[in-house]
């Protein structure tokens, strides 16, 4: 187990180093000049030179890279070129929004997918199965942004039940939750369609096994068989997909945040790339990398918990 952890930790750090080098290189190779983007078309050459100096863009590339890494190691991610405030402050402002959305989206995804998936498996070959699987196929095919627009038109414009977008923070919890309903649904419906299909096929697999037949022969109720015997044994593939989906949810918020004009990390990274705001892009990509790698790491740990047979191998 400890060897497993050590190996994963080294992999984790190597990934982060690789990501930092790639982002830094790409942002520097990409045509574009932060000073020019900030000062615009009428800027004079001396004003551009002064700003470049100000932003530290005249320092050698390697010095800038190692300066950034040294800062990041002690939690200083530098100052945003375009916002002119510490990057950490920008991220701290936006993280609650994106995390709230991703976590809420994940919970709703699990609720919908497990219920629908188990239902379809238990009605295998019957109309209930066909209908739910047809709907999930539809869910996979529908682009999230289009679904978002439909939800807004129905619930915000016509029915006026919920706001069409925006998020003013958690200081007003009722308003915050109302703002999150539509984006969460838009995010979760598409993701749960994928997961429901995985849940169904994995559950069907388990239902064909001997112990399920034994349980049924012992006279246990269908509900008990499904939720106590089938689901736990069907979890390994489900957890694998969930791990990947959590990463997709965090990055998928980029689209959702744009449609619902939510002040989250997705919109920030979009804007920062357009502005060639290197410190902000660098920190955000690292953050997303940490989230993705951590999600995979947690999935690996969960495997061991779910399936004790794996413990012997590690």
């Amino acid at each position: 187990m400890s060897y497993f952890l050590l190996r994963r930790t080294i992999g984790f750090l190597a990934t982060l180093v690789a990501v930092s080098v790639v982002v830094f290189a790409v942002m520097n190779v990409l045509p574009g000049d932060p000073a020019l983007t900030i000062l615009g078309l009428d800027a004079t050459d001396d004003a551009l030179a002064a700003l470049r100096d100000d932003l530290g863009l005249n320092d050698p590339l390697l010095a800038r890279y190692f300066g950034w890494v040294a800062g990041a190691l002690v939690g200083d991610f530098g100052t945003s070129h375009s916002f002119r405030v510490p990057v950490a402050e920008l991220i701290a402002e936006r993280l609650p929004m994106t995390l709230s959305l991703a976590v809420a989206g994940m919970i709703l995804t699990l609720i919908i997918a497990l219920t629908v998936g188990i239902y379809a498996a238990s009605h295998h070959g019957k109309p209930g199965d066909w209908i739910t699987m047809f709907l999930s196929q539809l869910g996979i095919a529908i682009p999230a942004f289009w679904l978002s627009i439909l939800l807004v038109l129905l619930f915000a414009v016509n029915l006026r039940w919920l706001p069409p977008g925006g998020f003013a923070g958690w200081s007003d919890p009722v308003a915050a939750m109302r703002s999150l309903v539509l984006p969460t649904v838009a995010l979760a419906l598409v993701q749960s369609a994928v997961l429901a299909r995985v849940t169904r096929s994995s559950a069907l697999e388990v239902m064909r096994q001997d112990f399920t037949r034994t349980a049924r022969a012992s006279g246990f109720s269908q509900r008990r068989i499904l939720w106590r015997h089938v689901l736990p044994n069907a979890l390994v593939p489900i957890v694998t997909i969930v791990g990947m989906q959590f990463a997709a949810l965090v990055t998928g918020t980029i689209v959702i945040e744009n449609v619902f004009y939510l002040p989250g990390l997705g919109r920030l990274i979009f804007q920062s790339i357009a502005n060639r705001d290197l410190p902000t892009v660098q920190a955000l990509v690292m953050l997303f990398a940490v989230i993705v790698v951590t999600a995979n790491f947690v999935v690996d740990l969960l495997y061991v918990l779910i399936d004790p047979r794996l413990k012997a191998r590690t």
């Binding site: 990409l30 045509p31 574009g32 000049d33 020019l36 983007t37 900030i38 000062l39 615009g40 078309l41 009428d42 800027a43 004079t44 001396d46 004003a47 002064a50 700003l51 100096d53 100000d54 945003s80 375009s82 916002f83 002119r84 405030v85 920008l90 402002e93 936006r94 627009i149 807004v152 038109l153 915000a156 414009v157 006026r160 706001p163 069409p164 977008g165 925006g166 998020f167 003013a168 923070g169 007003d172 009722v174 308003a175 744009n258 449609v259 619902f260 004009y261 939510l262 002040p263 989250g264 919109r267 920030l268 804007q271 790339i273 357009a274 502005n275 060639r276 705001d277």
Partner: protein, 493 residues
Amino acid sequence: MHIQKSIQFTAFALAFGLSVTTAAAADLVIGMQQEPTSLDPTSDATASIDGMMTQNVYESLTIVSENGEVQPNLATSWEVSEDGLTYTFALTDAAQFHDGTAFDAQDVIFSFNRAMAEDSVNPSKGIFKPIDSVTALDARTVQIKLKNKDAFFLFNMGQGDSAIVASETVDTNNAKPVGTGPFKFDSWTRGDRLTLVKNPDHRDAAMVALDKVTYRFISDPAAATAAMMAEELDAFPGFPAPELLEQFEADPRFRVNLGSTEGEVILAMNNAKPPFDNIEVRRAISTAINRDEIIDGAMYGKATPIGSFYPPHGKAYVDLTDAYPTDTAKAKEMFEAAGVVGTTMTLRVPPFPYATRSAEIIQAQLSDAGIDAKVENVEWGFWIDEIYKKQNYDMTIIAHTSPNDMGNFARGPKYFYGYDDPKMTALWEEISTEVDADKRDMLLKEGQKYLSDQAVHGFLFQLPLLGVFRNEVQGYWSSAPVLYTPLKGVSKN
């Protein structure tokens, strides 16, 4: 007391789950597509900074009115010397900064010296170039001496780039702006909204009808439409999508405004690069393009065609849209004569709907005339570096949104036009130093005719200002001669 009560009511309403959607009448919510990164117009060119801050939070010596006239502001009056080189400004004694500090001549001197300094990062540092010295004759009088005459000096003094800032607060203006204007900065949730409140101590406070103005940042056109329809917003003065306006025109709750901006949309050609250094090729391109088709297709008919580089609402405008009537066969002959038929021309387009849509139509029109035009969509950071700075392009489409910008054609071969014409440079020199308005207008007309004759670029249309307003909103500028819109005269009944 009034504010206190409304806060208590809101708290009460929320506690009991009531929905508080109807804001007080004097609260205005404005949708805005572009989100600012900084709130200081003297160090960042982002247009939305001027749109929200200039002449609302910050003030300048002068202010430009909706029809483009220069009017007094922090300077209540001024005198210009006989030779046009010395401007003496009398300053108001009724202004103070929002943090309570007084406004006087020293603030003007500080602001100008900062903009003119060697390490200045002012986005329009060029407008300060003619200034020789700025001195205070007393606490209420400032004298500015110019090195050479500048016809646009008073106009430029009314821009956000020349906002008067205080030395005490200048370093934090990017996130917490402090000015002397009729509105005070209240709060900013980056990515979501920015709120201004009325400044009760302002000298014109009696003329300000709004108590509170909230800007909401919505970049997606479909989301902007939904937010207007759901009555989350009172106004979207710079509506991003002409194709979505029809539903607002049909809805009695809204008023759609079709105004003008200072933005000339051009099919820019790299005049330094063959074959665009050949005037006949440029004329052939002007002959090949059909502006009506472009305006119908790209702007849903909502734009005014231009035949040269000057806004149609301007006093000195000459209509030159008939200089090169569309004639595909003739254009083809001209291309053949110049030996460019069958060659490929690349059209590198920035990510603005007016540009990407126009590009596709122009591509088809050029192809009809025998030119294989390739469209490359590039993002803004790329455009501004590769095309604008490094001149690495054949053709592009861009709106020039600055006022009085015919001088672009006198910026020499290093400017991205690659256009170097001593005659135009001399003409602009004359225009920019001619202080007599009538004589200047004559010269501007001459300039328009010359640029059209030289077919320097394909001149397409004037970028419209498309706005959607709820009927209750009155007094918002319908056209934009500058990048800002004063909220002083805006009301909501």
